[in-house]
């Protein structure tokens, strides 16, 4: 069953009165458990597609359906709530809350979901253990390396038990060792828990590990390859 479906999605930005066609009729289906990389040159529409799939931006035309819900039918507040319960985000710049410790950053999403303290504390500890940071749960982001911060960000993205995780250039700020470790960890989570990951990336290491590669060129899908 498709977790994400986009139907003829277009996005036009009106920049200085000149329309910029960021996406031109993108049809895409991503199934549960896929490990997908959206690749393409700069300006090809990768980030725009990720934003639209994540409900952060609305398409100019077309529909985005996540787990059977058409995002276009949701109000602003419903969309925020939908993101909270169904989508995990990993950003290039980690973007943890600097005044909170690792465990507090991870549990924050579950607190917003209204989970009881006992549950979110136990789950946060478990997630941090899974991403290999059991000994860093009380460290603040400033006390962690870039790779470790991104691991906390992944744990945070998984904390809400999302239907899928969107990761926009997750390895862009990491060295090769940290990138490799992070990708191993995400691949492991994908395999063990059948977590769906969608990356936008330029990074060849991500592309090498992805099992499906969607190539965007000028806002259109140029290639859609599934590795054996």
């Amino acid at each position: 069953m498709a977790v994400i479906t986009t139907k003829d999605v277009t996005k036009v930005y009106n920049s200085d009165q000149v329309p910029v066609h960021a996406l031109r009729g993108v049809d895409l289906e991503i199934k549960k458990g896929e490990f997908t990389a959206i690749v393409g040159p700069s300006g090809s529409g990768k980030t725009t597609l990720l934003n639209i799939i994540g409900g952060l931006d609305a398409p100019t035309n077309g529909r985005v359906i996540v787990q059977g819900t058409d995002l276009g039918t949701l109000s602003d507040s419903e969309l925020i709530d939908f993101r909270l319960h169904h989508i995990g985000f990993v950003f290039q710049a980690y973007n943890l809350i600097p005044v909170l410790t690792s465990i507090e950053n991870v549990s924050f999403v579950m607190q917003m979901q209204g989970k009881p303290a006992q549950e979110y504390n136990a789950k946060s500890e478990q997630l941090l253990e899974e991403v290999g940071l059991a000994d860093k749960i009380h460290k603040r982001p400033s006390e962690l390396s870039g790779g470790q911060q991104q691991r906390v960000a992944v744990a945070r993205a998984l904390a809400s038990k999302p239907d899928f995780v969107l990761a926009d250039e997750p390895t862009a700020n990491l060295d090769s060792v940290s990138s490799g470790d992070l990708l191993d960890m995400m691949a492991d989570l994908n395999k063990k828990e059948e977590m769906t990951f969608v990356f936008s990336t330029h990074d060849q290491r991500v592309i090498d590990r992805a099992r499906r590669i969607v190539t965007l060129v000028d806002g259109q899908i140029d290639k859609d390859e599934v590795k054996d």
Binding site: G54, L56, S77, R83, F91, Q92, I97, V99, D168
Partner: protein
Amino acid sequence: MIGNIIRLGWKNVWRNPTRSGVVIIAVMLGTWAGIFSAGFFNGMVQDVLDNQIELSIGHIQIMHPQFEDLYDPKYAVDNSDQVFEHLQGQPYVTDISVKSIASGLAQSTRSNFGVTINGINPQPKSTLAINQYLTEGQMLQPNDRNGILIGNKLAERLGLDLKSRMVLSFQDVDGEITGGAFRVAGIFKTFSSNYNENTVFVQRDDLNRLQGMENAIHNIRIDTDNMAKAETYADSLRATFPSLEVKTWRDLAPDLRYMFDMMDMMLYIVMIIIIIGLIFSIINTMLMAVMERTRELGMLRAIGMNKARTFSMVIWETVFLTLVGSPAGLLLGWGTISYFESTGINLSAFAEGLSIYGFGTVVYPTLDGMYYFNIMLMVAAAALLSALYPAWKSLQLNPVEAIRKLN
């Protein structure tokens, strides 16, 4: 969740300890300045009021209804014995004193000046209040015929010293101008230069004799156990003696009453001005705090923090920023006022200017507890008010724009 939002708000306050510290200190000093200036001016006005009441007004005065219009000596309190008897039976009365009063002219060989002549019995305590202001000579003695107490300003104007002779001219009971020679028995210097210039004291018997009256009482002054209840006591006296004029200190000194009422308002105006300054300082700081966290706020919105939570997080941050400094300022203000309430603040360097307005040279700041409470409410309201704009601004953030900044 609200507990966690509050906790996060508190932690956010300390992201930039220097900046938050500066705002907290500004709030503290602003609150302190408001409290202290209010206490200072309140103490000044209270001092004038207390001095005037002690020296000349008392809490309640009883007189003939027509006496005040013309100061005509024939309008004396006829049934003064009956009034006395009644007052002595009232538990709230702490002191009673009587006066004959005339409006006249004081003359010396050098000059003359219009004065209010108070004919007093030197015994009762309240009329002796002038005793504490005597700088030369002594209080009038019962056997000291035609002695007079004058203020230092009048002495200066008329060129009089102790034991100098002077003449008082005024109206007698038949409306004729009469007068008599008096010898300066004492010179006083009160807090009010006007009073020192236009008020004299003689023995009531001496004044009555020259007015052609015997044992005339024009004014009965009453001090009570509680000046705030003066109006209630006066109402009961009005009911008992409908033919007499009964006035409270508020009627007798409207200038003081207005000053007192105006000061009450001024205390709040001063505080409001300070709070407005603080509001802008807090808004400025919070806007900076919100603007520099665009990325983070965008991320929070992206991962599912709704508008209500984002709004309340910024509100709590602002409230914390304000409410840490404010109680400290209140405490500091209370401490300063308590200290100076007993020691006083010496303003003798400005004595000349202050005495024109009847202010004393030592100010004892004082502030009612209710005022502290009201200030706390005002600061809390200011905190909420300051929080609104930055919190609203945080909601205007478009997560997509923030995401672009993220990457």
